[in-house]
Symmetry: C2
Subunit: 610 residues, 2 copies
C-alpha cells in the first residue's frame, strides 16, 4: 500500500535507458534555471528601499546610485559565469572550478557556502512567495507557516522527486507569465508617466543628506541587501549537462538572455518605485503597492501578485536543480554520505531532494518565514562562492593557456576582485545583522566534510582485501546459542536448524522468578529434545542483561577460531496488527546483538497461519 | 547513556525479594486510594450548581434536594463496596466479581467501562487541578495545556514508574493537607454565619419553580452530574492486596473512613455555596469563589487553591493504582497484550502505566482540558460498573450461602437496583450530552478484547508441541545466499562463515548499471574466492526487488527439506554517528526478509576499529 501511494505521488520507476532523454532546449532551461534570479525582483528592490528609509536619515535619493551599482555588477557577474559554463561542461559550477584549480580548502569553502545558499534560497523564496499572496489576500496572514510548509513538502519536494523533465514543464508557463507581468507593469508605468507628463522622478525621491560615514554605512548596507537580487545568476553554469547539445553554447546564450531580462526588470521596478515614492508598509510588499498604484486592485493586480507568488515558489526550485547534484558530487568525493549520490526510481537524486527539503523547513520554522533576517546571510554566501569560483577561473585559464586566455583570465580577475570587494562590503555592512553567522557556519560545515571524508578513508583501508586467496573454512567450530521463552513449535523449529548447522547447541532460558525456572527445567526433561538447556535466574526481571553476560562467558571460553551464533526464534504473525500484541523482544534482541556483540545473529522465522 | 537517564528518573531496579515489602498501613493507603473520591469536591458540587443556574429557569432551590440524594447514595455505595472488598481479597474489584459470578460478557463490560473511567479520571482530575491553580493565578490561563501534559508525563507517570511505596509517600501530606483545608473552610464558614447571626440560607438560594417535566429533567441532569462526586469510592476494593494484614478488615475500615470524610466535605461545601449564593463564573472555580468569600485573597485562600490543585493531580494517581493491575489481569486472561502483565525494573506494571498516560493525554488534548464535556461519560461509566459488580455480589453470596448470606445479598441487591436506577437516570438525562458515546465505546472495546483473545487462542494451538521427540537434523541441505555490495573484508568475513555452515554458497550482486556489473565480474575472477557469483542487473536501480525475486527462484527449485539461509554482510561502525554516513540497506534488508520471506536471515557483523 505504501508502495502504491509512492507510485501515485512520484510516478512509475524509470529505466536506466530513459536517462538520456532528460535534456532541455534553451527556452525550457531558461524557465527552470532563471527562476531564482528573476524572482528576486520580488524582494531585492524592496530590500534597498527598506534600508534607505530609516526614520533618522534622509537617504531615499541614494537608491538610484545603489541600483546603478548593482546593475553594473550584474553585467560583470554574467560575463564571468558565461565563462564558468565554458570551463566546466560537466556541471558542478563553482565547486568543480575551485576543486580543479584551487584545491581542497577552497572547494570545500565553496561547497559550504553553496549549501547555505541553496537552502536559504528555498527558505527565502517560499517565504517571499507567501508574502506576495498574503499582500493580495490579507485573510491568509495567520496561515503563512502552513502555506510555506505545504508548498515546500507538498509541491516542490514531490515535483522534484518526479524528475527533471516533468518539473521543467511545470515551470515554463509561470516563468514567462511572470516576466510578462513585470514587463507589462514597467511599460504601463512608464507610459502613464509620459502620457500624463508627470515628472520622471518626484522631488521626494531625490532628497538625500550629504554623505558622511554614518550615511555611507547606510548606503553600503542598502547595497549589500540589494545584492540579493543577484542570487541565482550562477545557476545555469552548474547545470550545463542538462542542456541539449551543443551544451556549453546553449548554456551561455541562456545566461545572457536571463541577465538581460533581469536587468530590464530590476531597473524598471526601481524606477517606478521611486516615481511613486513608495515607502515600506507592514504585511504588504512593495511590488504589491506598485501594482496597486499602477492598475488599482483589479484583475491585472491579482494577476501580478499571483504570478509573483508562483515565480517565487518556483525559484525555490532552482535550489532543487542545483543542490542535489552538488551533494552527489560531494558524496562521490566522499565529503557527504555516499547515498546522496544514488539515483532514485525516477532518475533523480532523491536523497538529496529530501535532505534539502528538511533543512529548508528548519530555516523557515526557526525564522518564522521572516525574510529580512535571512537575506544578509544569503547574499554573503552567494558572493563568497562567486569570488572563489572567479579566482579559480583565473587559475584555470592560466593553466590551459589556450588562444585568448589572457583576455579571459583578465575578465575573471576583474570579476574576482569586484565580487571580493562586495564580500567585504557585505561583511562590514551586515556583520552585526547576521553576517557573523557565516564565520561559525562555514568552518563548522567544512569540519563536518572533513570528518566524513576521514571516516570513509579509514573505512576503505580497513575493508580492503589484502590477498586474493580462496575462502576456506577457518577450522574452528560453531557454538550455537538459542534463547528460548518456552517449549513451542517455534523453538523446535529453531533447534532443528541449529542442529543442522552445528553439533554444539545450547538453549538458554531467562527466568524472572524461581517458580518459572523450575517449571521450565521440568518441561525440558519431559520434552527431551536432545539439546542442553541453561536456565538463568534474573531477579531484576531483565532479559537482555543475563543473556548478554552468558554470551560474554561463552565468548571468553571459546577457541580462537570458533564462531558464536545466536539463533533467535521468532514467529511472524498472520496479520500486521497481531504484532502489537506481542512484545518485540525478538526484534530488539537481534538488533541489539548485531549492534553490541561480535557474534553472528540469525533469525529462524516461524510463520503463523492464522 | 539512555540507561543512566532511566536510572536517574525511575531509580535502580528492584530485586524480586523486595516485592513483599510493598504493603501499606491504613493511614497511608487512605491517602492513595481516597484521592479520587475526595478530590471530586473540586468539581462535583460545582457541576450541580452549574446546571441548576440555567438562565431560563429558577431552580437553585433544588440544589439541596439533589445534594441530599447524593449523600444517601454515597452511603449505600460505601456499604456495598465494603462487601466487595470482603468477597475479593485478591483485588481486581468489579472485574473479578463479574468474572467469577456473572461470566465473560459481564466481566468484559465492566472491564471496558473501567478502562474508560480510569482514563477519564486522569483527564478530568488533571484538567480540574489546573483549573484550580489558574483560578488563583490568571496569568497561567494560556498555559493550561502545557501544565496538563507536564503533570501527566513529567510527574504522574514518572512517580508511578518508580513504584507504589514511593508514590504513597508523595501522597500522604497533600491528601491530609487538602482534607484539613476543606474542613477548615467549612468550619470557618459555619462559624462566621453563627457568629454574625446570618440566616443559614438566604432567600435567593431557596427559590425554585414548581416541578414540571422540564424542571424535573433539569434536576435529574443536576443529579447525574453531581454523581461525579462519587467516582473513586470503589478504588479501595480493587486494591485490597496492597494493605497490611489483615487486608480485608483494614480495607473495609479505610473505606468507611474515606466515605465519612467525603460526606462531611460534600455536604459542607454545598451548604456554604448556597449560603453565599454563588453563581458560576468563567475561568474560576466555585471552590475558589468560596475560599475568596470566606478568607479573602490572602494566605489561606492560596493554601486552599494550592492543596486543591495538588489533590486533584494526585487523584489522577488513583487511576495509576487501579488500571495497570486491571490491565495485567486482562492480559493474564488473554484479553489484552500479554506484556501488560510484565513487572518492570521497579516491580510496577510499567507498560500499563505508559499505556494509561498516552490514552489520557489523548483525551486531554482532544477535549482541550474542558472538564464539563468529559463528566457525563465519566459518571455513566462508573455507575455502570457499580451496577454490574453489585449484581455479581448478589450471585456470589447466593452461591456461598455462608451464615448471614441473606442480609449481605439483600444489601447488595439494594445497591444493584439503586445504582441501576442511577445508570438509567444518567442515560436519560445526559444522552444528548455525550452519554450516547458509551454505546459506541463499550461494544467497540469488548470487540477488541475478543479479537485479542481469539488471536492468542489461535496462536496457542499453532505453537503447541505435538510430540516429545528429540530434535534431529532434517536430512535436507542448507543453501546459503550472500548478497554483496563489493569485494571487501566484510564480504570475505561473511563468505568464510558461509563456508563453515554449508557447502552450497551463492554470492549475489545487484548492479544498478551495466558498467558496474562488468566491473564486479572482473573483480570476482581476480579475487577468486571459490564461491559462485550471480550478478543481477537492475535497470530500475532497485536493490530489493531483484534480490527477492532471486530468492523466490531459489526457493522454487530447492528440495522440500532444504533450508535457505540469507547471510547479510554488515559492518558495525566505530562511532554511532558514522552510521548516518551509510545507507541502512543491511538493516532494512534483514528486517524486510524476516518480515516477508520464509528464509533464515543471519547477520555476520564486522566491527570497524576506527
Amino acid at each position: 500500500m505504501a508502495n502504491k501511494l509512492k507510485r501515485l505521488l512520484i510516478g512509475k520507476p524509470l529505466h536506466n535507458k530513459e536517462m538520456t532523454g532528460e535534456k532541455l532546449p534553451k527556452w525550457k532551461a531558461l524557465s527552470i534555471f532563471s527562476s531564482d534570479a528573476l524572482s528576486s525582483i520580488g524582494y531585492g528592490p524592496e530590500q534597498i528601499i527598506l534600508i534607505l528609509t530609516v526614520p533618522w536619515a534622509i537617504t531615499y535619493g541614494y537608491a538610484w546610485y545603489v541600483a546603478a551599482a548593482i546593475v553594473v555588477l550584474m553585467g560583470i557577474i554574467t560575463l564571468s559565469y558565461a565563462q564558468v559554463a565554458k570551463a566546466n561542461p560537466g556541471g558542478g559550477g563553482s565547486y568543480s572550478v575551485a576543486k580543479n584549480n584551487l584545491g581542497e580548502s577552497a572547494s570545500l569553502t565553496v561547497a559550504a557556502s553553496l549549501l547555505i545558499d541553496y537552502t536559504l534560497t528555498v527558505a527565502v523564496s517560499i517565504s517571499s512567495g507567501t508574502d506576495a499572496i498574503v499582500a493580495a489576500f490579507p485573510l491568509l496572514i495567520d496561515h503563512r507557516m502552513t502555506l510555506n510548509l505545504f508548498v515546500l513538502f507538498g509541491i516542490l519536494m514531490l515535483i522534484n522527486l518526479r524528475g527533471v523533465r516533468e518539473s521543467s514543464n511545470a515551470f515554463v508557463l509561470p516563468t514567462y507569465a511572470f516576466v510578462f507581468s513585470i514587463l507589462a507593469l514597467v511599460a504601463t508605468g512608464v507610459f502613464h508617466s509620459l502620457n500624463n507628463s508627470l515628472v520622471i522622478l518626484p522631488q521626494a525621491s531625490l532628497e538625500r543628506q550629504p554623505l558622511d560615514w554614518t550615511i555611507l554605512y547606510l548606503v553600503l548596507r542598502a547595497f549589500a541587501s540589494g545584492c540579493s537580487s543577484m542570487t541565482g545568476i550562477e545557476a545555469i553554469s552548474n547545470g550545463v549537462p542538462v542542456f541539449k547539445p551543443p551544451e556549453v553554447k546553449n548554456a551561455q546564450l541562456t545566461t545572457y538572455m536571463m541577465a538581460s531580462i533581469l536587468v530590464a526588470m530590476f531597473a524598471g521596478v526601481i524606477l517606478l518605485i521611486m516615481q511613486n515614492h513608495l515607502l515600506p508598509i507592514a504585511n504588504t510588499t512593495m511590488l504589491s503597492q506598485l501594482a496597486e498604484a499602477t492598475f488599482g486592485r483589479h484583475l491585472m493586480y491579482y494577476y501580478i501578485q499571483f504570478s509573483t507568488m508562483l515565480m517565487l515558489y518556483l525559484a525555490a526550485n532552482t535550489a532543487y536543480n542545483g543542490l542535489p547534484p552538488l551533494l552527489a558530487l560531494l558524496a562521490r568525493d566522499r565529503y557527504m554520505p555516499r547515498y546522496l549520490a544514488n539515483k532514485g526510481d525516477r532518475l533523480t537524486f532523491n536523497n538529496g531532494i529530501i535532505f534539502l527539503s528538511i533543512i529548508a523547513a528548519f530555516f523557515i520554522v526557526i525564522y518564522h518565514g521572516n525574510t529580512e533576517h535571512l537575506i544578509s546571510l544569503y547574499a554573503l554566501g552567494v558572493f563568497l562562492s562567486f569570488t572563489i569560483s572567479q579566482t579559480g577561473m583565473v587559475v584555470h585559464w592560466y593553466r590551459e593557456k589556450n588562444s585568448g586566455w589572457f583576455i579571459r583570465a583578465f575578465l575573471n580577475c576583474c570579476g574576482a576582485i569586484i565580487t571580493g570587494v562586495v564580500v567585504l562590503i557585505i561583511l562590514v555592512a551586515k556583520f552585526l545583522y547576521g553576517a557573523w553567522l557565516i564565520f561559525v557556519a562555514i568552518p563548522l560545515i567544512i569540519y563536518v566534510f572533513k570528518c566524513i571524508n576521514s571516516h570513509y578513508k579509514d573505512m576503505q583501508s580497513q575493508l580492503a582485501l589484502l590477498s586474493a586467496d580462496p575462502i576456506t573454512s577457518s577450522g574452528g567450530g560453531n557454538i550455537v546459542i538459542v534463547p528460548i521463552a518456552g517449549t513451542t513449535q517455534v523453538v523446535a523449529n529453531t533447534l532443528r536448524y541449529a542442529r543442522e548447522i552445528s553439533s554444539r547447541v545450547i538453549a538458554v532460558f531467562v527466568a524472572t522468578d524461581k517458580e518459572s525456572a523450575k517449571t521450565m527445567e521440568e518441561k525440558w526433561i519431559k520434552w527431551n529434545p536432545g539439546v542442553r538447556l541453561v536456565v538463568l535466574y534474573s531477579p531484576y526481571r531483565s532479559i537482555f542483561g543475563p543473556l548478554f553476560r552468558f554470551i560474554a562467558r561463552v565468548e571468553s571460553k571459546k577457541g580462537p577460531l570458533d564462531y558464536i551464533t545466536v539463533l533467535v526464534p521468532e514467529f511472524e504473525t498472520h496479520r500486521w496488527w497481531h504484532r502489537l500484541l506481542h512484545n518485540q523482544t525478538g526484534f530488539l534482541l537481534r538488533n541489539l546483538l548485531v549492534f553490541k556483540k561480535n557474534v553472528i545473529v540469525a533469525v529462524v522465522p516461524y510463520q503463523l497461519q492464522k
